[in-house]
């Protein structure tokens, strides 16, 4: 029994180590991958602080590094927030998309764009609308009655639908030649306009949220057992849920505000991790974060390399994410049958 435990732990650490190596490798590869050909030697020279052609330097510093860093943070945030929603609501279908958080945060950002607000204010509007959406979703779920998987998902779909309609209204009101295209393009998700300023703006917020979440893994485990069990274990249920949901929503809203709406990451990645490593959140959160980073960095590289135009990120995450999610669902069913 104890051998199994240590065996599981060993494979977990091994996976973490592999993910870290892959992330480091992807970070390097992303610096010389794109529509403009930069030789790996130039990237190495750049890292060694040697002289490289001006254009290559400009592309690496102004385009590729900012977007890769934002991809890194976005992948981690969306996957971790998905894992938290799933843990807190004890619902494997919960994700920023399905709970309507993405739509709510998008609505906040759309209103911000429509009102010509600054970037910082758009983030705040996005965060406020995202939080409001979670509150509405949870309230409707309570009104529906039993806290089953379906009541929460149902209320998430309803709230998300309402938010989508409001987004439609902002698009209707938007100026056709300027703001409408900005909103439409942004709603599909892209890192094309990423800057170091944006990265610097979101990274402290996200880092603090990561810290809080990663240090609360045991609390999430207890919360996912239910309110009664949490109280018996001495956990302040309401406060913990509030803090965790706020962190998850803040992470989602921050990502939505800089890169637009990116679906599937928050749903697919944690479910894949749960399939392989079980439901202990200390493993789920850490691996979701790392795999989310890998997933998003690969997505970004495809988005900016495959075509002369930027392919919207949600298009790629949808194409890759759907089969992966189905795989995780089918895999879970098979595993449950074997255990029975």
């Amino acid at each position: 029994m104890q051998n199994d435990y240590y065996k599981g732990l060993r494979s977990y650490y091994l996976t973490v180590a592999i993910c870290l190596v892959v992330i480091a490798a992807l970070f390097l590869i992303s610096l010389f991958t794109g529509r403009y050909m930069i030789e790996p030697e130039e990237v190495i020279a750049f890292i060694e602080n040697k002289e490289i052609p001006e254009l290559s330097g400009r592309i690496i510093t102004k385009l590729r590094i900012p977007r890769t860093i934002i991809a890194l943070f976005t992948g981690a945030s969306l996957a971790v927030s998905g894992a938290i929603y799933q843990g807190v609501f004890n619902n494997r279908m919960a994700s920023p998309d399905l709970l309507g958080v993405s739509s709510g945060a998008s609505l906040g950002a759309c209103i911000g764009i429509l009102m010509d607000l600054s970037f910082e204010k758009i983030v705040i509007a996005s965060f406020a609308a995202g939080n409001l959406t979670v509150c509405i979703t949870v309230m409707i779920a309570k009104l529906i009655g039993k806290q089953t998987e379906f009541s929460l998902i149902l209320s998430g779909i309803a709230t998300g639908g309402l938010m989508s309609s409001c987004i439609g209204l902002t698009k209707y009101l938007a100026d056709d030649e300027r703001k409408l295209s900005e909103i439409t393009y942004w709603l599909l998700g892209s890192f094309s306009s990423s800057t170091m300023k944006e990265a610097a703006f979101i990274s402290p917020v996200l880092t603090i949220c990561f810290m809080i979440c990663l240090l609360s893994v045991n609390t999430i485990d207890i919360i996912s057992l239910g309110k009664k069990e949490a109280k018996v274990s001495g956990v302040n249920y309401n406060m913990s849920v509030l803090i965790l949901i706020s962190c998850a929503t803040l992470m989602t809203a921050s990502c939505v505000s800089v890169s637009g709406v990116i679906g599937w990451v928050g749903l697919t990645v944690p479910n894949l991790v749960r399939l392989v490593f079980g439901n202990m959140h200390r493993k789920v959160l850490m691996l979701s974060m790392l795999l989310g980073i890998v997933f998003m960095m690969l997505t970004d590289m495809l988005a900016r390399t495959l075509s002369p135009d930027e392919i919207p990120l949600s298009v790629i995450t949808g194409i890759i994410g759907t089969p992966l999610f189905l795989f995780s669902v089918i895999g879970r069913r098979k595993r449950d049958k074997v255990l029975q």
């Binding site: 104890q2 435990y5 650490y13 973490v16 870290l20 992330i23 480091a24 970070f27 794109g34 529509r35 403009y36 050909m37 750049f46 602080n49 490289i52 052609p53 001006e54 254009l55 290559s56 330097g57 400009r58 592309i59 690496i60 510093t61 102004k62 385009l63 590094i65 900012p66 860093i69 890194l72 943070f73 981690a76 209707y172 100026d175 056709d176 030649e177 300027r178 409408l180 295209s181 900005e182 439409t184 393009y185 094309s192 306009s193 800057t195 170091m196 990265a199 610097a200 990274s203 880092t207 990663l214 240090l215 893994v217 200390r282 850490m286 974060m289 900016r304 002369p308 135009d309 930027e310």
Partner: protein, 383 residues
């Protein structure tokens, strides 16, 4: 006991890994700053920024009010605007264009009148900044600024030009794109732009004198540049509104700002009941068919009275701000003032000869008037 030690170690490991991830992110960020200085230092571009050379940079205010610093002697331009592309070619700057908005490349007349246009790359508004850098683009002139921030981040100056006025009425803005091109490309272009402006003003004066005879008709415009349907039109702050008002006419959708596709409902259309209709763009033949097939549209007074008019398609749809604008102004007036002595064929031939040095045959003019290609085929816009 063992289990609690493992949990403690796990927590430590988590914090170490997290620190590593954060440091990876932050170090990449901080490393980039000296790298910017390093990689860009010593280059001409950097000298322009750090030690501005008054002769090397020209500051241009674009149509969104942005002050944009553009290096003089720009040789490679991504002109992602049909209107600006038309004007650049007319002003003798066609060689500097690397790529243009994709719809422009689908218009077969562009390649006939100016064969080098066949070499232009087709860009969309969401073309990636890296693609532009790969093509060596030094300046972007663009109509839809959705991706402009990415170009600016890549160090490519972006000039926004529009076919409508954010301020209200599109009036003096007609000349804005030409003025901007003059500011960027120097004296010769300024002279070309000034001559074009004179031609446009002559046409306006000529048509304005006709307004003595009262004509307060309303005209509905269908923008057939893209296949977006019969409701795709323009509003009161647009170029077409300005052209119509010059001739003493008013756009039926005047009260709207630049329109979205479905802003005019079926019922609204019946209420608008325009006196006449103008259909432009490469898709006009399809739209004309759709118009006559529709029960609603075919029963509008202007359709029943046979007052649906085509707008010729030359280098671009002539209702756009373009070298052909003087022709559009006179042609529009000729449709509503039967006494106005005007010969579209002659005007179009002279205009194309003057600005593009191309001799149109009578058959060519016939094809342009019907939105056909040079071979007399229906123009198919691949978009």
């Amino acid at each position: 006991m063992n289990r609690s030690i493992v949990i403690k170690n796990t927590k430590k490991l988590i914090i170490i890994i997290l620190s590593f991830v954060i440091l990876t992110g932050c170090s990449s960020g901080t490393a980039s700053d000296p790298a910017i200085n390093k990689s860009v230092s010593g280059t001409a571009a950097d000298k322009n920024v750090t030690e501005p050379d008054k002769n090397g940079i020209v500051t241009v205010t674009d149509m969104e009010g942005n002050d944009v610093e553009v290096p003089v002697n720009v040789e490679k331009v991504a002109c992602i605007s049909q209107s600006a592309t038309d004007l650049m070619i007319a002003f003798g700057l066609g060689d500097k264009i690397v790529g243009t908005y994709r719809s422009f490349t689908y218009n077969p007349w562009a390649g006939v009148i100016y064969p080098k246009a066949l070499e232009y790359k087709a860009y969309s508004y969401s073309v990636s900044a890296e693609e532009l850098l790969k093509d060596g683009v030094e300046l972007v002139i663009i109509q839809d600024t959705e991706n402009a921030e990415a170009f600016r981040n890549a160090g490519i100056p972006v000039i926004a030009v529009h076919q409508y006025s954010p301020e209200g009425v599109f009036d003096e803005e007609i000349y804005e794109t030409a003025h901007i091109l003059g500011e960027i490309f120097g004296e010769e272009t300024k002279r070309e732009a000034a001559e074009w402006e004179r031609d446009v003003k002559d046409a306006i004066n000529e048509v304005s004198s006709l307004k003595k005879s009262t004509c307060d008709e309303t005209v509905y415009y269908i923008n057939g540049e893209k296949q977006k349907g019969l409701f795709y039109s323009d509003g009161g702050n647009s170029m077409i509104s300005s052209i119509l008002s010059t001739a003493g006419l008013s756009l039926a959708t005047e009260k709207y700002e630049v329109l979205n596709v479905h802003d005019v409902s079926d019922e609204e259309m019946i209420k608008l009941n325009p006196d006449a209709m103008l259909i432009g763009g490469a898709y006009q033949n399809y739209l004309m068919q759709e118009l006559y097939d529709s029960e609603l549209w075919s029963n509008l007074d202007c359709v029943k009275n046979d007052r649906v008019y085509r707008i010729p398609v030359a280098m671009t749809g002539i209702e756009n701000v373009s070298a052909e604008t003087p022709v559009m102004i006179r042609y529009t007036a000729s449709l509503f003032y039967p006494d106005y002595d005007y010969d579209l064929d002659k005007d179009l031939k002279e205009n194309i000869k003057k600005y593009f040095d191309y001799d149109l045959s009578s058959e060519d003019v016939y094809n342009m008037k019907n939105a056909f290609s040079k071979d007399g085929e229906v123009m198919v816009n691949a978009e």
